[in-house]
C-alpha cells in the first residue's frame, strides 16, 4: 500500500522510496527497510511518522509516492 493510506497507530515497513525524495529522507533518517509508526494522519494532509525519537511529517502528495506495508508488532 501507499504511505498516504496509513492510519494513525499503524506500524509500517518502508518498501520503496521514490528517487526525488530518497536523498532527503535518508538524511533525516528514513530509508527503505526501516520500521516506522504512523503517529498521525491529517485528512488530505501530511502523515506524521515516528522513527526512533523523531517525528517526521511527509506531505500527502509525497506520501503517495512511498510504498509501505503494515507489519505486525
Amino acid at each position: 500500500m501507499l504511505l498516504n493510506q496509513a492510519k494513525t497507530g499503524q506500524c509500517l515497513k518502508i518498501l520503496k522510496l521514490p528517487s526525488e525524495l530518497k536523498a532527503k529522507l535518508i538524511r533525516i533518517g528514513i530509508c527503505e527497510g526501516d520500521q516506522v509508526c504512523c503517529a498521525s494522519k491529517i485528512p488530505a494532509g501530511p502523515v506524521v511518522l515516528l522513527k526512533d525519537l523523531q517525528e517526521i511529517a511527509i506531505g500527502d502528495k509525497q506520501a503517495a509516492q512511498i510504498k509501505v506495508e503494515i507489519c505486525q508488532s
Binding site: K24, A39, P43, P46, L53, A57, K61, Q62
Partner: protein, 637 residues
Amino acid sequence: MPELKTKTINIALVGNPNVGKSVIFNYLTGVYVDVSNYPGTTIEISSADLSVSDTEARDFGLEDYKLKLVDSPGVYGISTLNDEEIATRDCLDSANLIINVVSSISLSRDLFLTKQLADLGKPMLIVLNQCDEARIRKVEIDTKKLSQELGLDIIEAVAIDGEGLAELKQALLNAVQNKKAKLAQFKVGTISAEIDAQITQYYDEMPTRFEALLAAENSSDKAREDIYQIRREQVNDLVAKVVSQSKFSKRTLIGKLLLNPVIGSIAAIVILYTFLFQFLGIFVAGTVVDLLENSVFNAHFNPLITKLVSQILPVIKEPSGNLLFDNPSAAIGTMLAGDYGLLTLTITYLYGLLMPLVLGFYFGLAMLEDSGYLPRLAVLVDGILSKLGMNGRAIIPLILGGGCVTMATVTTRLLNNKKEKLITMALLGLTIPCSAQLGVIQGLLSNIGGITPWLIWAGTLTIVFIATGSILNKVLPGDCGQFISDIPPLRIPRLSNIFSKTIVRSKIFLDEATPAFFIAAAVVSFLQVTGLLSWIVEISEPVISQVLLLPKEVAISFILGMVRRDFGAFGLMDIPMSASQLVTACTVLTLFVPCIATVAVMIKEQNFKSAMAIWLSSWLLALGCGAILARIPLQIN
C-alpha cells in the same frame, strides 16, 4: 614584525536545524542572532569574532590572530538541494575548523551530517548539545564510545544554561598557541573505506578530500543515493552502539494532541484567536494603546509640543487653501505641530501606537516559535495550503506577515519552489495585514462590540485568501513544493530568550519604520498645507462615498496606507463612522495595496511585472470587496 590581527582562523558552526547553534554563537561572540525553535530561522549567515578578554588574548598569544566564527543555516546535509545547503557549503569551504553541533535527542538524524562532515577531512570538534533534554527523556548516550567511534573530540553541553560552553571556548582559544595557529591538535574525521572507494576516481582531478567527496556526491543522483545509503547504515550502527533508549518517548501528550486532526485544529483556532483577537486586539490595541495615547500623548506630550512650537511659529488647526503660499511660517508650524505634525502625530503614532503593537506581535510570535508550535501548525495547514499551490512551510511567512509584510516577503526565500514563492508573496501583499494595521483594526473592530464585526472582517479575508490562492494555483504552471519536515519537540519557552528576541526584532522594525514614518508624515502634512490633500479628498470622493459608502476623509487613510500600510490604519481611528462603515473601511484597508517597501522587495525577489500585477490587483480586490460589503445589510448595532 607581524601585522596586527591579520591572520584569521575561520571557525564554522554547523548543525541540523534547531540544535542550538545560534545560542552557542551568541555565547561565544556576544552577538545576538535570532534564536528560535523553528527549523530554518537562520537564513542569513552571520559571522563575528570570538569575544576574548585582554588577558585571554595575552595568555593565548591572540594579539596576532582573529578567531572568526560563522553561524551557518541549519541543514540536514551538504549538497545542492537548496540555498541553505549551498550557503553552508561555501562557509565550510573557507573554514579552518568545524564545530559540529548535534542534539542528543535526535542523534540518528544529526549524526548523518556529522559523518558527512567527518568525511570532508577538516579539523573538527563536536558539541553534543541539549543534554538536559536527553536526561529528562532518559536517553543515555555513551559519549566516550561515540568519540572513539568517530575519532573526534566531543564536548557535552546544555547551551541554553551555558553548560559546557566555557570548555568549548577554551578549546577554541587553544587553536592559537605561542602566537602560532595550532590546528593540528584538533582531530580530523576519518573516512570509511567503503565511502573512500566511492570517491577515489575523483582524487585525480580534485586535490582534497573535501572537493573529491562533494564532486562524487553531486555527480549523479544515483551516486549520491549510494553514498548516502552507506552513510546512513553506518550512522544507524553507530546509534545502536552508543544510545540506550528507554521506553520513554519524546512525544508528550500535548504534542500528540496538537497533531490530532480534530483537536489540533480546534487548538490552532483557539491559539490564533487568543493571540490576534484577545491579546493583540483587546489587550494591546485597546487597553495599552488607549492608556498611552490618552494619558501620555494627548494629555501631556502633544499639548506641550504644540505650545512650544506655537511660541515660535503659528500653528493652524484646520488649514485651508495654499497655506505655504499665503503664510509660509504658519505652514512650517503646522507641518511640525499641526494635525499631521511631524512632532505630534508622528511621534504619537510611532511610540504610542506602533511600538506597543509591534512589541505585542513579536512577543506572541516568539512564544509560538520557541514553544515549537509553528512546525505543528505547518503540518495541520499543509493539506489546505497545498490546494492553494503552497505547502505547509508557507505558514511561516504568512504569519510573519502579521508582523511586517515587507519582512515576511523577504522570508519567502525559505520556500524552495518558484510557484509557491510567488503565490505566498501575492497573498501576503493582498490579504495579510501587518502588525500595526492588524492591531489598530483589531482595536477598532473590538470597540464596535461583539464578535460579528471581527467575523465579517476575518471571513472576507479568508474568502479572498482562498479564492486568490486557488486561482493562482490553477493559472500558474508547475507543482507546489515538497513538504518534508521534522518536528522539533515542544519546549517551554525561556522568558529571557522571548524578551531578547522581542526587543531585538522590534528594534530592527522600528529603526526601519521610523524614517519611513517621518517621510510619510512630511509628505502628508506638505499636501495638507499646500491644499493638495483636500483636493485629493475631493476627487476621490465619488469612489469613496459612492462605491464604498464611506465618509470622504477615509481617502486620507488610503493615501497614507500606500506609503506605509500601518500608517494608514491610524487615520481611521479619528473618523466618525457607523459600525458597518467601520467594518467596510477596515476590510478595504487590509486588502488595499502593499506599502512601498514591500513593493520594492517584491520587485527584487520576483520582478517588476509580478509586483505591479499584485499591486494593481489589490486596488481592484479592495474596492470590489468594499463595494459588496457596503451593500450587504449587516446586523451590527
